[in-house]
């Protein structure tokens, strides 16, 4: 039984549900990290949905919080599609970059990875290990190299070799560090001297609380996010903060990570996510 199973069965008919029942639902939503604003919005939407089934009402209310934007990869109209993977420290950027590259190769695309995390100790090695495992080439520079120059090299290579996808892993950075956020903007601008960046994906860890919303806002301001990768959904966290981000900022969740292996990765499916929440 899902998170809200007990409550839903109490709310069998919306018309009979008591205020206390709805409060209980709201609590469950808060427990899933939707945050106070979205949780109360979902409850009031659910209460207003005209249906006999409470389950249906909650389901519809949750779905209505999601964006209607496409969750497909936005491919470059011509030339290589460049994907920049960004986020705060430890959310799963490197793992997700590798997984995404793997996903694309399994769709018979030619993919190149770039190790633009030149900061954290052994981060380049981490991506190189993934490259070996998955048999995908990884562009990298020397230790402490300028991340923009690594990204630039990689961009030139995908253009020259007509590789269809470039996935760039970047260093984790706190959105509160202005210099690091500026650096990210620079990475993007330098790449765009060669080829347009088609996707900038923010990696959000499902355990993240309300701070995720601020992270998304700040990253969106400095690099124009096009989507979210929600990781670590294999744990006990529900990842409701991604829902809050999508609902408030309209940045669609595009992928989910559900484990430490390359295959633990899939396009985000709103219906099944919402069902798993319930």
């Amino acid at each position: 039984m899902g998170l809200f199973g007990k409550i839903i069965s109490k709310l069998t008919r919306t018309s009979n549900a008591s205020a206390a029942d709805w409060d209980e639902l709201e609590s469950a939503l808060l427990g899933a990290d939707l945050g106070p604003t979205l949780a109360s919005k979902v409850v009031s939407t659910a209460r207003s949905v005209k249906t006999d089934s409470a389950e249906d009402a909650v389901y519809q209310a949750l779905l209505s919080a999601l964006s209607t934007k496409s969750r497909e990869i936005s491919r470059a109209p011509s030339g290589p599609t460049v994907i920049l993977v960004v986020g705060v420290n430890g959310t799963g950027k490197t793992t997700s970059s590798a997984k995404l590259a793997h996903y694309l190769t399994s769709q018979d695309e030619k993919v190149l990875l770039a190790a633009a995390d030149t900061f954290r100790a052994a981060a380049v090695d981490q991506l190189l290990t993934w490259g070996e495992r998955l048999d995908i080439d990884v562009v990298h520079g020397k230790e402490n190299a300028d991340p923009a120059s690594v990204a630039f090299d990689a961009a030139q290579q995908v253009v020259a070799k007509e590789i269809s996808f470039l996935v760039i892993d970047t260093a984790g950075r706190m959105h509160t560090k202005n210099d690091l956020m500026d650096q990210l903007g620079k990475v993007r601008r330098v790449i765009e001297k060669v080829v347009r960046v088609a996707e900038v994906l923010l990696v959000i860890d499902a355990t993240t609380g309300q701070n995720g919303l601020i992270q998304a806002k700040v990253f969106a301001e400095s690099v124009d996010l096009t989507g979210i990768i929600l990781t670590k959904l294999d744990g006990s966290a529900r990842g409701g903060i991604a829902l809050a981000i999508e609902s408030e900022l309209g940045i669609p969740i595009k992928w989910v990570g559900t484990g430490e292996n390359a295959k633990d990765f899939a396009p985000f499916d709103p219906q099944s996510y919402v069902r798993s929440l319930m």
Partner: protein, 480 residues
Amino acid sequence: MFDSLTQKFSSVLSSLRSRGKISQNDIEDTCQEIHQALLEADVALSVVTSFIDTIRERSLEVLPTLQSGTNQAQAIFEIINQTLVEILGAEARRISFAKTGPTVIMLAGLQGAGKTTMAGKLAKFYADQGNTPILVASDLQRPNAVTQLQVLGQSIGIPVFAPEPGNGRGDPVQVARDGVQFARVKLHNMVIVDTAGRLGVDESLMKEAAAIRDAIKPNEILFVVDAMIGQDAVRTSQAFLAGVGFDGVVLTKLDGDARGGAALSIVQVTERPIMFVSTGEKLADFDIFYPDRMASRILGMGDVATLAEQAKKAFDPDTAAKFETKYASGEDFTLEDFLEQMQAMSKMGSMTKMLAMLPGAGAMKKQLDNFDEREIVRTQAIVQSMTIAERRDPKILNGSRRARIAMGAGRTVTEVNSLVDRFSQAQKAMRQMRSGKMPAGLPPAMTGMGAGMGASRQQVMNVKKSKSGNPAKRAQQERG
């Protein structure tokens, strides 16, 4: 979002302050706001509820014993803060060392929490205190976690025991056991064991962690947790407590702006103290845990303790004593005093940074962002272009005097005018303070700088528990 919340919260407190007598309804309203604030800060719902109950109970108990309006609000704020500090732990506990043989510290936590970096930081912290730690690479799961630990160890000159390459190969239990043995033989007095990240729901990996524990019998198991974690903090910390057990908590990534309310949940639910915090990617970004600072942070009240510390350092006792004498003799606050205070504050370090630490800073974020450090330099230039008579009595500043001053300082007349205006405000504030209409704290030069800081002054004073040299505070104390 946080800003608006901080604004709301500070406005509740200041509206409480401005009212004469606080009613039960006021307390109820305050509780509602705190409820909201704590949820936004990621405190677990169940913990929020019990916390609010305590606040309500304590406030209602104290309320009838209080008299004047300001004191009541202050008392309630104190209750909130005190209760939080109490739960977070009165003071930080330190590592308990082994009586014989090496002290063994094991790190455990979710993936990406920051265990490996933390291992390096702990090693450095204890090596700096004369210990001889080694690091043991028992995270054989995450690609190149072993390499990462080796690089860290090398950068701080700490030996790393890493017999296995990792990346899915090798037995972490064996590595941990051999690592401790190695330390024993080589007479290292401390062993820090890094382990793989694991989920609370992953039974087999939790069993593995327990097996490592049983093999090395650590003196301390530290649960490493990301300060940005949300409601899952409760489930995960319970799972680790049941699965491996832990003696203390380490909070990482506090250099971000997460409120860190999960800290409250974890301490409440597991009854284990937070011992250390990590505040950045560099190995020096590490500190012991201060419950009072965390309390302020969770409430969005700014780092009052740090500010008070800095303020104390910057205001030398002589200046304070001088002001005190002036006040006692009933002298007025002059432009010279104003300038002197501004200069003292510029000594406190970056003004904007300091202001941002103030409680209620959220409410004046705009002003903070627009605040220009060069303001002090400009003010100084203007004041110094005045004659002594003008400084003592700015009322004599007519148009032509102002024009002359502007010329002399290389500023515009408008700037001179605005300085005089702000000074008058500060002077007025100072007079009010003396007549007891306003709680005192920071020097009035600060109030004169355009930021409405009514809510903050009071709290800064509270942290300075020692009998302050501040004249207005003394006046307040004398009034009783």
